[in-house]
Amino acid sequence: METATDKNELITRLRAEILFLQGVRVALHHKQMGTGLGPVQDAFPQGAFPVGAMHEFISTDQGQSAATSGFMAALAGFLMKQDGVCLWVGMQRTVFPPALSFFGVAPERVIFIDVKKERDLLWMIEEGLRCQALSAVIGQVQEIGLTASRRLQLACEQSNVTGLLHRINPRSMNPVAAVCRWQISPLPTEGQGELPGIGHPRWNVQLLKIRNGHPGSWQVQWDNQNLKSIITQDSPGKGQLLQAG
């Protein structure tokens, strides 16, 4: 028996080491960080959101793009905590800063970089990712190649800054060097109780790819500002696997 437990311990330790070597960093505070993500949490390797890595988000229309912005803002909020600073880099900024406070981000802690030339965009995202003082860098791009994304991922690994890359309406879903690929789409809301009208934001969160984790799809609700509680709807297709990474 003893040898068996020893073996198990050895195997888990080796697995953790392999993960580390593969570039999956786990936040030191992942216990606190984890509480917010609800059911999505289990999909990550070792049950912890990978920080210091690139996350790729894909949106194909305006609705998805807005939902993705909200979800990214929520993630950035968890990464920033009380005193973090986030860089939001993009060509055409549509994000409305006051709305970020609904997702637990202090809008004055977000620095928006409005890039005018496309050739500067990736350079700026990379430069941001190299700055250890930042908690997160959100980049909005349209097209990105594998080589360019590899540079960004390496910058993340060196500085331990988390990068959230939002690919808006890309022409092709080409693979990029990111630990996760997400797709967030809005879902119809339900009024609170008997009241008509619009309730809390609801999203269909699809984790299309995750390195060493379990891809999946969840129907979640962003409930009350600052409070991240994700509840699954009473639908039969709960936790259904969509696509393996």
């Binding site: 909200g70 994000v95 800063p97």
Partner: protein, 499 residues
């Protein structure tokens, strides 16, 4: 033998005002400031003086003399500021220049005049240039400061007092020319001493008994028996470093090495003086006589050579060395005291983080030009376009909390986009709307939230905002501009997307 030049500006402040406001030239105006409950003339233009308005007069009296008199508020520190600037300018005539409040300058011209071809030419050049720039000016030269001062202000014709001839120059001047206090001067006029020659030969013990030691001191200073202090100005040394090269430099690594050396020299001086640069210019003088320059700016005062080098590194490829660069000059035209930022530089922790971020932003700005980075603070407006305020600096914190009592879209369109709607009854949310050829059937809606125009800023119609959700779950922020009326249907606009 020392030689001094005294320069006198009889209308210093008024001349300056005429330079700034040319429409005042040739008019009667006074500079006045309140004193003891009335407004007193501090300086009068030559035209006003011709009407009998003098310094120290009450403005009400002056207005009685000249009803069309223009009264301008006086800046008490202006004279000193002007004199300082003029003293810096006169350093071209002598390395030692001092200001002589309230309206003069003193130059130590010892050994300088031969460069202008003699004392006469020297003095003429000073007067001509200052008059050319718009100031009424008189100047005189003598062996002592006091004599130069007296001849400059009271001398009749001869402006240059020959070496050792102070006494002759002074004889015909009034006692006021000795810079005595008012009590002594009054006493002298009472006794009939209208000219210096009346009392200069009286025995010192008698003069001391009557007028005190100060008269003897002043006389001694004028004649050169008593030393008079001279406090020359010390102009700040500009922050600039030069690096001449033995061999012309043609490669990027060569430029980098030169730049690093210059930055280290500059930064070590900055650190010593507790200053930081906001702007640095690198000038590269090439052997073909051309000059190339690159410029960087920082968002906070910095004295870190590493950071400044990183900013320059982005610009080095734009320097064209051609046949080679023989001289590098690094100038820092904008320098600020480091102050609190210096503490932060050496603090590890949260404050250090801001420095790192500021350095990052500097790099981004150096690459893509200014106004690419924005940070927003809440502004107390309901109108969506005006509810954020750009933060002036990285340190600025919000004065008011962000409002979260009303839903606001995560994406806001720059310009509201017109949509076609079909709404059932006035004041109800629309049933469907069409935007860019796509029809969105509305399943759920909240609103209206009426936001009125802020009439003190802009005139226009109010907006009634609705939060609507279509059958796919996408959420929009749309508004109706104005009221329903009999004769026209109001327009609807899409203004944002909710998450």
């Amino acid at each position: 033998m020392a030689r001094y030049v005294s320069i006198w500006f009889p209308h210093l402040t008024t001349d300056r005002l005429v330079l700034k406001r040319p429409e005042l030239a040739g008019t009667s105006f006074v500079l006045a400031s309140p004193s003891r409950g009335r407004v007193v003339v501090k300086a009068a233009s030559p035209q006003a003086q011709a009407c009998g308005i003098v310094e120290g007069m009450v403005v009400a009296d002056a207005r009685a003399v000249l009803p069309s008199l223009e009264v301008i508020e006086d800046d008490a520190e202006l004279a000193e500021k002007l004199l300082n600037a003029l003293a810096k300018w006169t350093l071209r005539y002598s390395p030692l220049a001092a200001i002589d409040l309230d309206d003069g300058l003193i130059l130590d011209a010892t050994g300088c005049t031969h460069l202008w071809g003699g004392e006469m030419a020297y003095l003429k050049d000073i007067v001509a240039r200052l008059k050319g720039s718009g100031y009424d000016v008189r100047a005189a030269m003598a062996d002592t400061i006091a004599t130069a001062w007296a001849v400059c202000r009271f001398g009749k014709k001869e402006r240059i007092v020959a070496p050792g001839a102070q006494l002759d120059a002074l004889l015909a001047l009034p006692p006021t020319a000795l810079r005595l206090d008012q009590v002594s001067i009054d006493k002298m006029y009472k006794l009939g001493f209208y000219q210096i020659k009346r009392f200069v030969h009286i025995a010192p013990s008698v003069l001391r008994r009557r007028f005190g030691q100060s008269l003897l001191d002043r006389l001694g200073q004028a004649l050169g028996h008593v030393h008079e202090g001279f406090a020359p100005i010390h102009p700040p040394e500009p922050f600039a470093e030069r690096l001449p090269c033995l061999e012309p430099i043609r490669t990027a690594p060569g430029i980098e090495i030169a730049l690093q050396k210059l930055l280290e020299m500059l930064c070590s001086r900055l650190v010593k003086e507790g200053q930081g640069v906001r702007k640095v210019i690198l000038k590269c003088y090439r052997i073909d006589g051309e000059m190339r320059q690159v410029e960087i700016g920082t968002s906070f005062a910095s004295c870190s050579s590493g950071h400044l080098f990183k900013l320059f590194e982005l610009k080095i490829p734009t320097i064209e060395p051609a046949l080679g660069i023989e001289l590098f000059v690094l100038e820092a035209p904008v320098v600020e005291p480091l102050g609190e930022q210096q503490d932060q530089l050496f603090n590890i922790g949260a404050a250090n983080k801001w420095v790192e971020i500021a350095e990052l932003l500097d790099r981004l700005v150096a690459r893509a030009g200014p106004d690419i980075s924005h940070r927003y603070l809440p502004a107390q407006h309901y109108w969506p376009e005006r509810c954020t305020l750009e933060a002036a600096s990285l340190k600025e914190q919000p004065q008011t909390p962000w409002r979260t009592d009303r839903p606001r879209p995560v994406h806001l369109l720059q310009e509201p986009q017109k949509v076609e709607v079909s709404a059932p009854v006035p004041d109800y949310p629309p049933m469907l709307f069409r935007y860019q050829g796509e029809v969105h059937k509305i399943k759920r809606a909240d609103g209206p939230e009426r936001i009125e125009q802020e009439w003190w800023i802009q005139q226009g119609l109010h907006r009634d905002y609705y939060t609507v959700e279509d059958e796919s779950g996408a959420r929009f922020w749309i508004f109706r501009l104005g009221h329903y009326q009999d004769y026209n249907k109001p327009e609807w606009f899409l203004h944002g997307y909710f998450a």
